[in-house]
Every structure is written in structure tokens, then in C-alpha cells.
Amino acid sequence: MSGRAQRVLGVVVAAAALCVLAGVYVTSLSRSPQAAARSADLTLQTVGALGPKYDHPSWVSYLVRDRGGEWLHSTNLEVPANSLVRVTIHQYDSATGLRNPFFARPQGTVGNVIQVDGKTVDVIDPTLTSHTFAIPQLGVFVPLPGVADNAPNQCDAAPCTSAQAHRTITFTFRTGRAGRYRWQCFVPCAAGFLTGFGGPMQGFGYMDGYLNVV
């Protein structure tokens, strides 16, 4: 190979290498901020009885914390699409027990595990389950253990405070495309209703709702 040909080949190889490096750099630039932006936090609490401030004082319910830190009696939740959602649930209710023990296994969360009071678990005792947070269309099923019956300083009206007896459950899950997905509790937790499935289990806005992925 002549010297001129070697120089041309060298320039071509160097140019190709530069192009590859530039491509990798641009790709990483375009991905990193997006990945960082595509995450969200969702904070909920469950209470055994809403209390006198609400329409059905004796009904069990979920509440959601808004961006200002206020607790809202709403089960319409909103999270970004194609993102990692970090969920924290402060669980103030006592145990009822699952009708189908199968739902004691966390599913659809990252690693199929949850953290209960800081401890990572892949299953909980179904008889000690108080509620579940399940989004069946996304394959997410999370059991929530109950507060011990004899725990001191139990909460009897929403919104409950961190000083009151509670369990803290955290987990993460990934959302896909935008859409509206229902979520629900699988524990028959409606006190005073036949087999626990009436009232707040059949009325929108208490133990079920929509997860709006936007």
C-alpha cells in the first residue's frame, strides 16, 4: 500500500471513530436527562375510618398526598408514562386477611419485592394483610400488612399523622404507555357489609380508583 493510500485509510478510520464517539455521546445526552425526568413519587395513606370530616365517617379509604403535602380524599392518581414510580403507602388500618392468599405475593414491582418498615420482603402473611394496592392491568399487586390490634395510639380519623401507629410500605413500579388504569383493594375490608365487599369496596373513591398515566 502506498503512503498516500495509507494516509487516506487513516483519515477514514479516524473519521469513522469520531462519528461513533459523537453518536454515543449524543445518545447518552438524549437519554440521561429523560431518564432522570421520567420518575415520580406517589404517597398514599389508608385509614380504617375516614372520620367525621367526610361523607361516610365509618368507611375505610385511601387518601393521596398532593404536591403541597396536604392529604386529599381522592383515588384519582396521576403518574407519568414510561417512568419509574416510587410509591410510599402509610398504612394505618388493622389486618382483615386476604380472601385469596395468592395476593400476599408482591408482583409487578421492581424485583417483585416491597419494603415493609424498611425491610425488603417478597411475601407477607395473608392473614395479617390489611389491604392491597393492585393495578391488575399493569400486573401490579402489592399487599399491605396491618397494624397490630393492640398497637398504641391508633388512628381513628383521617388524615392520620406519622405519630400514630402505622406501617410504611414502599415499592417502585414502571409505567408503560399513557392510559387510564383502574386500581383496587383485594381485601374484603368493608366493615359492616356482607362478606366485607359492600360500601367502600363497591363505591368509587374509597378502596379503588383510577391511575391516570399521562
Partner: protein
């Protein structure tokens, strides 16, 4: 004489139209009728729908042609309002009408009865029966799968795989499946539309239905019984896969759900969970 000529015209038009339309409907339209051909049972139901549609075609044509002929030929001429000619009964026409209607209905009754009882019929969730098809199939390994309805999700147990429970319904292609359908709370209805299977899910009852998937693919599962606020969302998608894929899927599910296995009740035809805690 006029009526006889009109009758002959209608008859000729109807015969010609039926001779053309019935084969066209049978050949080109009915292959797209529901529920498809994903299983032998679904294909059988499609054949039933094809027969019904083909038989109904000449009947519908007779009504439409007669109505159109009357509207065109006997319409009021001019603006004068006149009484039409008096109408008399016609014993022959009535006899033909009654005999033909009876023959069609009895024929379809016999056809439907035969289709329900013949070997290979799907059964209607009525439970094991000497007439049910899979008892007549010798040498084939039947896969039992339990369908458990609960507000508002179906879960599935595979008793021959240590009672594995999973939220997904996956079936192996070409293998007879015995579905045991039950419920943990209210009345649901398991409807695997594409498989041609539908059976009520009643608490404390084991409803049995049979299916044999004949091709790989997906199928929709819906609840077909109004069962509460989220009834409309009680659906999922099942899969029919090859035998090796099925075995691999089972192993994967056993791994995923191993932690909860010790908490599951022993496999049973039905489950009657006692109301616990505050419930009840």
C-alpha cells in the same frame, strides 16, 4: 290471475336470489363469523353459526323480496285514496308456510341437539358427563386448569403442577384442557371468547368445561356476569403456546410464585373462605 302471476314472479325472483346469495354467504361471509377457529370448540361453534346463517339467508331474502315487490308493484297510483282489493285466505300458502317453518325449526333443533351431544362437543359447564367429549378421547393427556373468579380478577391454578396459582392463563397447543371454574365471592362468568368457552363461576360450585386449543396465539378472557363496580375491567389476555414453551412458562411461574406457595390452600374443587376480621 293477477295474484298468481305476481306470486310466480316473487317465487322466481326469490329462488334465483337464494340460489346465488346462499352459496355466496356460506362461502365468503361465514368464515369470518365468530368465535374463530382457535380451538376445536370455537371452530365447532363457527360451523353452527355458518349453518344458521346459511339457513336464514333464503328466509330473509323471501321477506325482503316480497316486501320490495309489494311496495313497487302494488303502490298507490296517483293521488286518489282507494281501498285495496279484499284479501282472502289461501289455504295452500298457509300450509306451505306452516310446514316450511316447522321443518326449518325442527331441523335446526335436531342439528343443535346432535351438535351438543356428539363426541367433541364443548359442554356447557354442566360438569363431567358420560357424553362429554374428553371422556371419549383415549390416550390423550388432559390438563386440568382451575379458573378462580374474585372481585375483580381471574386467577388460575394448575393442580398437576403443585397447585401453582398465577394471574395468567397459558395453555399448551394440541392438548385437551379441563377447565374447573369457581368463584371466591359473587357470581362471575369465565368467557374465553376466542376459545369458544364460557362457564359461570359460582362460589362453592365447580363448573367444568372443556377445550382443546388447536393453534398458537392469544385470546381474550372476560367476565360475562355483572359482578360489581369493576366488572367492566375484569378481563385479561390468555395465550396458547407450544408444549415446550408451556413447560418453560410453568417453571418460570413456579419460580416467581414460590414465596406464596406455602400460604395457598390445598387444591380443591371449590373454596369457601370464611369471612374474616371485620368482614361479614
Amino acid at each position: 290471475m293477477r295474484l298468481s302471476r305476481d306470486f310466480a314472479r316473487v317465487l322466481v325472483i326469490w329462488v334465483v336470489a337464494s340460489a346465488i346469495a346462499t352459496p355466496v354467504v356460506a362461502i365468503f361471509l361465514t368464515p369470518d363469523l365468530p368465535p374463530g377457529i382457535a380451538t376445536d370448540d370455537a371452530a365447532g361453534q363457527q360451523v353452527d353459526n355458518e349453518v344458521l346463517t346459511a339457513v336464514a339467508t333464503p328466509v330473509v331474502l323471501l321477506i325482503v323480496i316480497f316486501l320490495a315487490y309489494v311496495l313497487i308493484v302494488f303502490r298507490q297510483q296517483g293521488s286518489a285514496i282507494e281501498e285495496g282489493p279484499r284479501v282472502y285466505g289461501h289455504a295452500g300458502a298457509q300450509t306451505v308456510w306452516i310446514v316450511a317453518s316447522t321443518a326449518i325449526v325442527l331441523g335446526l333443533f335436531a342439528f343443535g341437539t346432535f351438535r351438543l351431544l356428539e363426541a367433541g362437543a364443548a359442554g356447557g359447564g354442566q360438569g363431567p358427563s358420560p357424553l362429554s367429549p374428553l371422556h371419549a378421547v383415549g390416550g390423550e393427556s388432559v390438563l386440568p386448569v382451575q379458573v378462580i373468579g374474585q372481585q375483580w380478577q381471574f386467577t388460575y391454578r394448575y393442580p398437576t403442577y403443585d397447585g401453582l396459582q398465577t394471574p395468567h392463563l397459558v395453555l399448551p397447543v394440541g392438548r385437551p384442557v379441563e377447565l374447573h371454574v369457581t368463584s371466591l365471592d359473587v357470581v362471575h362468568s369465565f368467557w374465553a371468547y376466542g376459545l369458544g368457552v364460557k362457564a359461570d363461576a359460582n362460589p362453592g360450585v365447580d363448573n367444568v368445561a372443556y377445550v382443546k386449543p388447536s393453534r398458537v396465539g392469544t385470546f381474550d378472557v372476560r367476565c360475562a356476569e355483572l359482578c360489581g363496580i369493576w366488572h367492566g375491567y375484569m378481563f385479561d389476555t390468555g395465550r396458547v403456546v407450544g408444549e415446550r414453551s408451556f413447560e418453560a412458562w410453568i417453571k418460570d411461574q413456579q419460580r416467581i410464585f414460590a414465596p406464596v406457595q406455602k400460604y395457598l390452600p390445598p387444591y380443591s374443587d371449590t373454596y369457601l373462605p370464611a369471612p374474616q376480621g371485620r368482614a361479614g
